[in-house]
């Protein structure tokens, strides 16, 4: 129970898990480039289909990936509407005069109340949101009764719809790619993969192994520091610090009462840790061996072939 899932890593089986993190990192970058090279919606749909097939082959639960992407839905919706509202190319598909009137305001208020009341049905949250937005639109479009405050013309263009669908699918594919990476790769493996890939940067003075050690120590201490923050907050709350309410001046003091102990303990901790590392013969900059090892296997060869051919295909499509 005390395990905290760092990032989104979800233990599992399947070939995504067997792949070398380096292949995955390079693969995600290469495939993202490939996706950006595609120009039409059918091409993107084919890419999405291939992606879904890969996920199924890799025994990843699509539901789990969709769940991981949930925080980004807002971004998708925003992108969608942004394109529809501001892209004014091609022929006109829909033109409507929207009016803010007493009737439409009343309807919107009623809809908002209804929407908030139904918000308990968490499973249908997304559908409810869509329904609410549609309701607001229809109220503005058709309920122009009573005193009118303002009105404006809302136009949807053909190219706008096309672009919004295109951009949303492209985003969806890209998000899926990065979700697969974080879902199937332990943060430590990810760090080690990055370290290994950054090794050539030694020429310009960036030491990737130290960077990796810093990241792995940070990962190790995140749960400890969270736990501590929790306890400090409880200790100060015991002295009447109310982190939720109060005037701004009190609030600032209360936040200081949380931050000062956190920093002081962190300093002490880093001193202790430095001592422990030093006495275990850690000398910054010295050569070390590594317990964990990255292995480039059969799966990686297949994956590389797939990635290279995908990239090649999209370049060909772009040039033709």
């Amino acid at each position: 129970m005390k395990n905290i899932v760092l990032g989104q890593y979800l233990p599992g089986q399947g070939f995504f898990y067997r792949m070398d993190p380096r292949t995955k990192i390079i693969g995600v970058i290469a495939l993202m480039v490939a996706i950006f090279l595609l120009e039409t919606i059918p091409q993107l749909l084919i890419a999405l289909a291939i992606g879904v097939v890969c996920m199924l082959l890799g025994r990843l639960s699509i539901k789990r990936i969709a769940k991981g992407m949930r925080p980004l839905f807002i971004l998708l919706i925003f992108t969608f509407f942004f394109q529809i509202l501001f892209n004014k190319e091609g022929s006109i598909l829909l033109q409507e005069t929207l009016t803010i009137s007493l009737a439409s305001i009343g309807a919107i208020i009623a809809l908002t109340i209804l929407w908030r009341l139904l918000a308990k049905l968490r499973r249908f949250r997304f559908l409810l949101l869509l329904g609410y937005l549609a309701g607001v639109y229809f109220s503005l479009a058709y309920l122009a009764y009573g005193y009118t405050f303002a009105s404006f013309v809302f136009t949807v263009y053909e190219r706008g719809v096309e672009m919004s669908v295109f951009v949303v699918i492209r985003l969806l594919v890209i998000i899926t790619l990065s979700t697969i990476l974080t879902l199937t790769t332990k943060p430590t493996d990810l760090t080690q993969g990055l370290e290994s890939l950054m090794r050539p940067l030694k020429v310009i003075g960036i030491r990737s192994d130290e960077f990796a050690l810093i990241i792995s120590i940070s990962l190790r201490y995140i749960p400890t520091i969270l736990d501590e923050a929790n306890k400090i907050m409880a200790a100060q709350a015991s002295r009447g610090a109310d982190f939720l309410q109060g005037r701004l001046k009190d609030k600032i003091r209360q936040i200081i009462s949380l931050l000062v102990p956190m920093f002081i303990i962190a300093f002490k901790r880093s001193e202790d840790l430095a001592d422990a590392m030093e006495t275990r013969n850690f000398i910054p900059g010295m050569k070390r061996t590594r317990i964990s090892e990255l292995a480039f296997g059969k799966t990686d060869i297949l994956a590389t072939l797939f990635i290279v051919s995908s990239l090649a295909a999209s370049i060909v499509l772009r040039v033709l």
Binding site: M1, L226, E228, A235, S238, R239, G240, P261, I264, K268
Partner: protein, 286 residues
Amino acid sequence: MGIHFREVSFHYPQNQLTFYQAIADITLQIAKQDEFICLIGRTGSGKSTLAQHMNALLLPTEGSVEIFGSLITNKRDKKINYNLLRKHVGLVFQFPEYQLFEETVEKDIMFGPLNFHVPPEQAKQIASETIKLVGLDETYLKRNPFNLSGGEKKRVSIAGILAFDPDILVLDEPTSGLDPQGKIQMMELFKAIQAKTGKSIIIITHDMDLVYEHASRVIVLHDGSLIYDESPEVLFRRGDLEQFHLQYPNTIKVLSALRDRFGLDLDIYQKNLPDALLAIKKAVAR
């Protein structure tokens, strides 16, 4: 009045990150005055979780806790000021480092009273009174709390709680990390505070000598359940404490070894050295 736990359970839904041990079905009452309770149990038995229910830092998942007349359940009640409840039950955490943050001891002690809307002038007055109550003199008020020794920091952190005059004082391992002399002084301090103010005191500890000598009541937790709630005299006469990873006080250990070795008619239940010596002398004389 005081604190009343009624069938209190606390747990998190599965797979959610949690820093607290679960507790289950706990019913107990703590009086407002003159109790000296020790809360014991091995690490992870739920002692801290239980303590944090006493001032509503945690809300029970099931059951209810009545704290000085306010009924605390898993739903936040808008009519209850949770913050003001904490004025009734002062909770001192194990590490003073969790709470010290001001640049002077005085300001740090004043933090609690100011949060509970005591006027600054009066809070200052309180600080100079409480620093004496914890056995330090007024010269400490202007010192930086981070430059104090471990024992002094502990005292200042206790003063920071005493300053808002809670009815009940709960201390999480107040003697851990102190050397033997420091431990004795700390316990004397609590005895003195109780004698002076009559406040009920609850101490979480692993030190059975301390429990046997000072507690008037012992609450034993094991795997989140309350297994014993009785006087130390009754508790340490039980033969099964080791199965809960609990030890016996040193006096009992030494005296029972003596009794078994020489077949003495010896009353092994003695709380301190002088009593133990008397018992030995009596037994040998027989």
